[in-house]
Symmetry: C2
Subunit: 214 residues, 2 copies
């Protein structure tokens, strides 16, 4: 069985960055709940000159999220919006919107944000919120997407970057990437393989979204 | 945008034929409603020595299906089971089962069979019916799978070979293959791209199924 965890898998449509003309840097706000590896991928793509953008702020909801540490390394302001400290989802989202606006964010990137967002957030950035989800949507919406894929026994898994609509994990698809599932995969090995692709497609999808809706 | 309609896309798991040890030729019955291009692919894989099998019979349900003509070219008996001539799905399936059994079929391959099958057929060949469906299941079950994918705006489409359970387009997945969707794709161009992959994975999935359940 052929295995190569590092080379790109199927990504489509394959739009070279060079074809994307962005006149001025996109002002991004990134929302992350976990390790922030997608934050890192976007920051690196910017540093490498592949994506004409600035990360204005990182919003994180877990006090010990590694994402906050990464933001510090990159010199990006990090704002903790701890969901445990708010009475409702709307209250949390109001606080997030306030932080994003305070940092002049134009585009919001949900990069591993594990909370359901409300119209309070969505309506504040119409058609300018991007989400990345670890499945080939419309398969396996919602939480535990990687586990769902393993339980279903699919042989191909992947990730999807899409614009956010009020329903969970819906909205126009920007990019998808596919990876093989191997018979002995665990949640960890499959998730890791999917994340490698997430890091490739997310910066590209941001550029694509900005070009379509600038 | 990179385009290549002929090279293999992502197929997983990639099991070389050589790893599949089939002691004796599988006795296949193939069911087809349309052009029979998957019938052709299986016949060719057998002729090329990639799949140790014999096609015992082709079952077709449309009098003018090109599949019947292909069967004739390959010297395979073709039996017309015209659904319009039966009062119920069960009656049709009883006639199909009779034809399959008369030709000593062990494994049934639904290769573009456009009729819903009943327990009459499924119970006659338990765990030995294979279906190929033009989507990455569980996305886009049922009819018009390619149109459903285009309407959903997915960027990656594909096909799935699975064992058949009584529910439509469910059952353990044997193999899947993924293809890109391009912005200007029509049903015809996307379907053609998917079919190219179907022809690659179907013979391999048959060998895989036979090895797992021999």
């Amino acid at each position: 069985m052929v295995r190569d965890e590092t080379t790109p898998r199927l990504i489509s449509p394959r739009v070279p960055f060079g074809e994307l003309n962005l006149d001025k840097p996109l002002k991004l706000g990134i929302m992350a709940s976990g390790s922030g590896s997608n934050f890192e991928a976007v920051a690196q793509a910017i540093a490498d000159g592949q994506l004409n953008a600035q990360i204005q702020v990182l919003i994180y909801n877990n006090p010990d999220a590694k994402a906050a540490w990464r933001a510090q390394q990159w010199g990006v302001p990090a704002v903790l919006c701890n969901h445990r400290e708010y009475g409702s989802r709307e209250d949390l989202d109001r606080s997030i919107v306030e932080a994003l606006q305070r940092h002049q964010v134009e585009w919001v990137v949900m990069a591993g944000w594990m909370r359901v967002v409300t119209p309070t957030l969505i309506d504040a950035f119409p058609d300018k919120i991007i989400n990345i989800h670890p499945s080939l949507l419309p398969s396996f919406k919602g939480v535990r997407a990687v586990e769902q894929a393993l339980e279903a026994g699919v042989k191909i898994a992947g990730c999807t970057v899409h614009l956010v609509l009020p329903e969970v994990d819906t909205g126009p698809i920007l990019l998808q990437a596919a990876v093989p599932v191997f018979p002995d995969d665990t949640h960890q090995t499959l998730h890791s393989r999917i994340q490698t692709q997430e890091h490739l497609v997310l910066p590209q999808a941001i550029a694509l979204a900005a070009q379509v809706n600038s």
